[in-house]
Each structure stands twice: as C-alpha cells, then as structure tokens.
C-alpha cells in the first residue's frame, strides 16, 4: 500500500490540475488503439500439461475494462493452443448473481467465475464451490511470491490456510467520478478540471447548462431506475466526503462510520446529499427519465451529448473511447462539500477482478496456465496495455514497465491520480472477524433498501427524507443485530462491538498494524 498522506483540498486540486490537459488529450484516443490490444500479449510455454483433445473452456465475469484484456488474451491463447476455445461471458452483476449459483447447483458452472455479489466468499469455500490455487497451480509458492506483500488476505483471498483467488488489479477506485462534456460546460463557463465543483457550484452548473440547452441539453444524466440504480453510489459518496463511512462492499459494512460502528443514513451529510439531488430534480436540471433509466442505460446514453455531466467509474473511459470514438469527454473529482476539508472515500481491499476456480471443472490445468500468465509481470503489463492503463497493476515492476513501454491513456492517469488522492483503505470486517461470513450470510435483503428509499424520495412516493432515512437506519440496525445473533447462535465469535474501530483515521490507509492495535 502506498504511504498515507493528508487528504486536503489542496491534494484534490492538485489531482484535478491535470484534468484539463487530459480532456484535450483524451479526445485523441480512438477505437483503433483499443483494438490493437492483442499486440502486448505473448503466450508463454504452458506451465503445466494441457488437454490435447478439443476443449471449450468457459469463463464468466462482469466484463467492463478487463474484458478488453481477456478477449485479447483468449484469442491469443486459442492461437497458441488450437484445441482450446475459451467461451467468455462478460455479464452484468445481477446476471452473475443468478447464473453462477444455478451453475454450481446444476454441476455445470463456468470453469472460472466472478463471485456473485450476494455470495460471501467464505461460504463458497465452505460449500466446496471453488478449488484452492495451492492444489491446481504448478509452482504455486513461487507464483504467489511474485505478488507484492499485502496482496493476499485472510478472509478475502485465503481461507483455512489455502489461497483461492488472487487480485488481478488494484481496486482502489470510485464509481462517482464526474465525467463531463467539455463542449457543453464551456458554453456556460464551467471548468471542473480547474478545481472540483462544490455541491452548490455543481447545482448551479447543472442549472446553467439546462437553461442554455433549451430542452436539448441538461445538466446531469442520472440512472435512478430499475435495480441497478446509481442512487446509492452517488448519495453514498457525496455524503462520505462530509461524514466518513465504510465502503460499499458487503451489505453489513455499508455506510457505517467505523469510529462508532453506526450507520450514517440519518446523518446531516446523507440528508444533505439527498436534498441536493431533489433540488436538482426540482430545478429541472436532470435529464428527463432518470427515474426509469438503469445505471448502464444512463451511462450508455451520455455520449449522445444531451447532458453536461454524469457520475461513473473508470471502466467507462475505454467504453466511450471504443464505442463512441468521436465523443469528447473529460473527468474531474466528484463534487466536494461547500465548506471544510473533504474527507476521503474508503475502499475495501477485496481484490479487484477476483476470479474463482470452479471446483468441479475438468480443466484446472487450463485455469492454472492462464492464471500463471495473468499473475506474471508480462501478464500484468499486458493488462495495463490492453486497457491503456485504466486497470492498474498491483505489481510495481509491471506498473513501471507499463509506464515506460505502454501508451498510457491520459484520462486513465487522471483517474488514477484522483483515486490516489481521494481514496483510502478502510477497515475490513472479514479481516478482523474470522467468523464474519456467518454474519454476512445472515443479513437479509432490506425491503426497501437504501437505493429503493432514495428512488422513492426521488419519484415523490416518499415525502420526508429524514423520516425515510430514520426508518432505513432502524431496519438496517435490526437486520445487522439479527444476523449477529443468528451467527452467535451457530457458534460464531462476533459482537456488534466488532464494528467499532476506534483507531480508524479516514485520512490514512487502515493497515495490518491497525488491526493488531485493536487486540
């Protein structure tokens, strides 16, 4: 982990400083360079004995940025091993949530899969869904040693002394980067690259864009409909910069102030963020139809040029460059609070783009060979090359080599600078509490959940944000308490106090020493 440093408005400004240049330079990127991504991949000699008969190997994950690498890798792999065809299924997370458990249940899951968000990894291990890499990788110890210290964590990648997965890339990133259309923002004299917009400036900018757009251009494009609403991420991250709270991986840790162990749904920060969004809706600054657009739909429509701004993550950089090569866009920090020093966001080092090996797969040798390459310096450089730096390697050597040899995307670099300045590693329950998965698995779906409640407020079906959030807070607390009780009844050693991290400093990465200090 990089050494922590003080997160201040100055660092935000510094990170944002390069954005203007990035915006201009980003326009030069086009689909051609993305299509050249195979050039960085050279398939090495097999690390193990591969099947000789015709084989169709299946791989499922959430696609996005990594799909640029995997598509290229699998094509090259087929070239090198003509009898092996890799069927790649990049699908949305809700599909993965459905398909993978059904596949496991039916005994025909993909050979390699991304873990469904609703399934705790510890449960998948306990249920025998996944194979340990120790058992399938040749030269496992040597391979594992290539990764930097801290890449493997108990409760995340390792269970019961064995390693089941590995982080392909760094997951220090945010889904609420402000993507903007410079041509539209220039018309109203707004430049988020000069310095991050405050909440008020953000609202005013959206108003100005809408006014000058005369029904054809609006301030903000928002996907607030269907199950994949952007509301939780937007409200969550806007408010986290005022009231620091946990990251979004895992329902139990969602929106929890680690210092107190309490949810922050009723905090002024969350209520303020909701009111900002409602005010922007009332201004007419949000593209009509937000309440019925899913997140992916909204993001896909941004290049049409009808909105000045949208919140998204780095995965859309390559997406827009490839699918809308003529679309010019730039990135900036998400809006920061009107006053005070913005607090950092937190992330959980759950390992980005983790792949898991289906225990009953007949082709563990192919998996081992592919993982061997992906977990090598050459493979890591190829990932950065295929994504033009939008995916960051965990290997310092690979990152250095890629910066020297690969054409890095300036927008990717901008995003990276932004994440380094604005995001810190937060506490992780799975690291602190070995029995945490028993709790996580007992947490029932909230009905309505955070996203639903904001959707209800946005559509006008719920009228009072404070009342709605208090109800959510109460139900969240009860849900967590019930899950803890159920886990305790099954023998899990866990209490609600485990959710309190008195030594948490949101401006610093929460590391091994901090966990030790708790005991």
């Amino acid at each position: 982990m990089t050494s922590a440093h003080r997160f201040s408005r100055r660092t935000v400004l510094r990170a944002a400083g390069g954005l203007g240049a990035a915006a201009a330079f980003g326009a030069r990127l086009n689909a051609t360079s993305a299509q050249d991504s195979t050039s960085g991949i050279t398939i090495p000699q097999p690390s193990t004995t591969l099947p000789t008969d015709d084989v169709t190997f299946r791989w499922i994950d959430s696609g996005d940025l990594k799909s640029f690498f995997y598509k290229a890798l699998f094509a090259k792999y087929h070239e090198a091993h003509g009898n092996i065809t890799i069927k790649y299924d990049p699908l949305p997370w809700d599909e993965i949530n459905r398909i993978v458990p059904l596949g496991v249940q039916n005994g025909n899951a993909h050979d390699v899969f991304a873990m469904p968000p609703d399934v705790p990894a510890a449960t998948a291990v306990a249920e025998g869904w996944v194979a340990a890499l120790d058992d399938i990788m040749p030269n496992f110890t040597e391979w594992k040693a290539r990764f930097p210290i801290g890449s493997f964590t108990d409760g995340v990648t390792d269970f019961g002394g064995k390693t089941y997965t590995f982080p392909v890339t760094s997951d220090k990133r945010s889904s609420t980067v402000l993507f903007y259309n410079p041509a539209i923002l220039q018309k109203v004299g707004v430049d988020p690259s000069a310095k991050p917009l405050t909440w008020t400036e953000f609202r005013e900018a959206a108003q100005k864009i809408t006014k000058q757009g005369k029904g054809q251009e609006f301030g903000l494009l928002l996907g607030g409909g269907k199950a994949s609403s952007q509301f939780p991420a937007i409200i969550g991250n806007l408010s986290r910069m005022i009231h620091p709270a946990g990251g979004s991986s895992g329902a139990a840790t969602y929106m929890i102030d680690w210092k107190t162990g309490d949810y922050i749904f009723t905090s002024d920060a969350v209520i303020g963020a909701i009111e900002l969004l409602l005010a922007m809706k009332s201004d007419g600054s949000i593209v009509p139809g937000a309440a019925s657009l899913g997140s992916a739909d909204a993001r896909a429509r941004f290049p049409q040029g009808h909105a000045g701004m949208i919140f998204s993550g780095p995965w859309d950089i390559v997406n827009y460059q490839t699918n809308s090569p003529d679309f010019k866009f730039a990135l900036a920090s998400q809006p920061v609070p009107d006053s005070g020093t913005p607090a950092p966001l937190t992330f959980e080092q759950t390992g980005s783009n983790l792949n898991w090996v289906y225990a009953k797969s007949k082709y563990h040798a192919i998996t081992a060979d592919l993982f061997s390459y992906i977990g090598s310096v050459d493979g890591q450089v190829a990932i950065m090359a295929a994504t033009k730096g939008n995916l960051q390697s965990l290997f310092p050597e690979a990152a250095k080599q890629a910066q020297e040899t690969v054409q890095m995307d300036p927008l990717a670099k901008t995003a990276l600078d932004l994440f380094n300045s604005q995001i810190r590693l937060g506490p992780m329950m799975s690291v602190r509490v070995p029995d945490y998965s028993a709790v996580q698995f007992g947490i029932k779906k909230l009905n309505p959940d955070f996203g639903d409640v904001i959707q209800g407020l946005f559509s006008g079906q719920l009228k009072d944000p404070k009342k709605a959030m208090q109800d959510l807070q109460d139900r969240s607390n009860k849900n967590l308490d019930d899950a803890i009780k159920a886990a305790q009844a099954k023998g899990a050693k866990v209490t609600r106090d485990d959710w309190i991290y008195p030594n948490w400093d949101p401006t610093k990465d929460y590391g091994e020493a901090d966990y030790k200090a708790l005991t």
Binding site: Q105, D118, G225, A227, L446, D452, Q455, S459, Q461
Partner: protein, 327 residues
C-alpha cells in the same frame, strides 16, 4: 395391427365407453400405444413442471438462500412473514389490478377487431390479422426494451408526438412516474397480446353459420342487431374461455415489467412475479429462495383457482356448444 389397437382404444375412450370387467392393467395394456406416445411428454412434464412445482412447495417451508447446503426447516414462518409484508400485499393487489384493467380492454378490443376482420368482404383482413399477430411472436424482453425507448421522456416518439400535438406541455415520464408506470406496461401488454386474443375470437366466430346472418339480413336486421342477437349469444360460451385464458396470461407479465421498469419506481409497478424474483435472485442481500417460494405458492393458489375456473368455464362452454349443435 398395433395402430389398429390404439385406434380402437382411442375411439372407445372418445365415445366414453369403458371396457367392462377388465382390470386396470389390461385396460392400460390395451391402450399401450397411447400411453407410449404420451410418455415423452409425461417425462418432460414431470421433470420440468411437476418436480419444480412440488419442490417449490417444499422450499417454501425452508429458510434457504437457494445455493448452500445450510437449509433450515422453519415451518410456516415464511408464510407468517409474507402475511405481514406490506410489499407482498401491494404486489399481490397490483397483479389483480393489472388483470382487472388490462383484461377487459384486451378482450373487448380484440372482439371488436375480430368482428371487423371476420367480414369476408374485407379484403385486407389477412394483412391486418398478420400485423396484429406480429407482436405475439416477438420476445417479451425485446418488446420491453424497445418500449423503454418508445416511451422515453427524452426524444421518445410518444413524447415527441404528444408535444407536437400540444397534448402535453412537457415530456411525460411514463415509466418513471409511479402513477403511470404500471398502466403504461398494461398498455404495452394489451398491444403485445392483442393478436392472440383476436385469433381466439376469430376462431369462435367461425361457429356462427353464415346462413343465419344471411337469413337475418333478409329479414331486415341491421349490423348491430346481427351481432347483438346472433353473434353474441352464439360466441358467449367461448367468451368465458377466452376471458379466463386472458386473465391467466395477465398474471404472467414478468418479462415486460422486468425489462421496462424492474418493478419501479419504488415498487410502483412491482407485480407478484417481480416480487418473487426480487426475493429469490435480486441484489442487495442474500437471496431468499425459501421465502420467495412461499410467496410463489401463495400466488400460485390464486392462479390455480383461476385455472380451475377456466376448466369449469370450458366445461360449461362445451355443454352450451353441444346444446347448440343438438338444437
């Protein structure tokens, strides 16, 4: 020889004759070819209909995510929870509301259109029959996705038309407004399945002999009286069946709702199937297959009751048709 045996057995069964004094085994043996030919269908039905149905009843008594070996028998706890879940009842009533509004519209409009297209003198009848039937054979999911663009408040053709015709001052967010979302889906549902109901009506209209119309016309009956005094009484037995088929269809709208709104905004268009899906597979927590199965069973009883009603209606319709033939 064998086919001859099967043919005889079939005829005997059709005529309602039961071979007297023969054991069940002998009777089955006599009709063995009938059973043999029915076997593949029976096996498929057992595997893909009966087994999942029965298992879902069993699951409804479990606290189970659906993918772990940790299944806990909870008795009626899921049902008790459902009874107290306001979102369940909202979805339940919403499904019934959807049925109560969409079915009459579809059945009546399809009947009117069938009357028009049943007129042999109408040259474009086959063309319109095909046009109306096209949406029926289009995937519900595809229709749903396309309709999100059609109804989009931003540059969607419906809104463009409303604005240009000055029927609206500002774009209408049909699918994002809690007051319009469900009824927009109902409109699309009527449009999508209109063709099949119309075909049912056209088939029903075939039973009305042309000579009766001609005789009535000679007697001076106008078009209205023809339909009121001849068509309506003669197709009424079919109406029962058509209405009931349409009712059951209106409770199976998952594809359209999921693709058009996902049940939103804030559950405003969440019908029972989407509620079940959300609990069984949706995001935001560990799936609850046991609970979802209990909800499905609860709702299934409603559909079953309607299906039984359909069976009863069918019997009545057959009786009425037999009387007509006899008369």
């Amino acid at each position: 020889m064998a086919i001859g045996t099967a043919g005889r057995a079939g005829r005997l069964m059709q005529q309602g004759h039961r071979p007297q004094g023969r054991s069940l085994g002998r009777r089955i043996w006599a009709a063995r070819w009938c059973y043999l030919f029915a076997l593949p269908n029976l096996i498929l039905a057992a595997g893909f209909t009966f087994y999942p149905t029965i298992m879902s009843w069993y699951f409804s008594f479990l606290d189970w995510s659906g993918f772990t070996s940790d299944r806990q028998w909870v008795g009626l706890a899921n049902f008790r929870e459902i009874i107290h879940d306001t979102y369940f009842w909202h979805a339940y009533l919403r499904s019934l509301e959807f049925m109560a509004v969409a079915v009459p519209i579809q059945v009546i409009l399809a009947f009117i259109m069938a009357l028009i297209l049943n007129d042999a003198s109408y040259k474009f009848g086959p063309l319109f029959r095909t046009l109306f039937f096209l949406p029926v054979v289009t995937s519900a999911a595809i229709v749903g996705i396309v309709m999100t663009f059609v109804f989009s408040p931003f540059n969607g053709p419906i809104n463009q038309a409303l604005l240009q015709a000055r029927l609206a001052n500002s774009p209408v967010d049909f699918l994002g407004n809690p007051n319009t979302a469900l009824w927009t889906i109902a409109g699309v549902w009527v449009w999508k399945w209109f063709g099949i109901t119309m075909i049912y009506w056209l088939a029903a209209l075939q039973v009305v002999p042309q000579e009766i119309y001609e005789a009535a016309e000679v007697d001076g009956a106008g078009r209205w009286r023809l339909h009121r005094d001849i068509t309506a009484p003669m197709v009424f037995p079919f109406a029962v069946v058509i209405v009931l088929i349409t009712i059951v269809g209106s409770l199976n709208v998952f594809g359209l709702v999921q693709t058009m709104t996902g049940g939103g905004p804030f559950f405003a268009s969440e019908v029972m199937e989407v509620y079940i899906y959300r609990n069984a597979f949706g995001e935001g927590g560990i799936p609850r297959l046991g609970y979802a199965s209990a909800a499905a069973l609860f709702f299934g009883i409603t559909v079953l009751a309607l299906s039984l009603l359909q069976g009863y209606g069918l019997k009545k319709a057959n009786d009425a048709r037999a009387q007509l033939r006899a008369g």
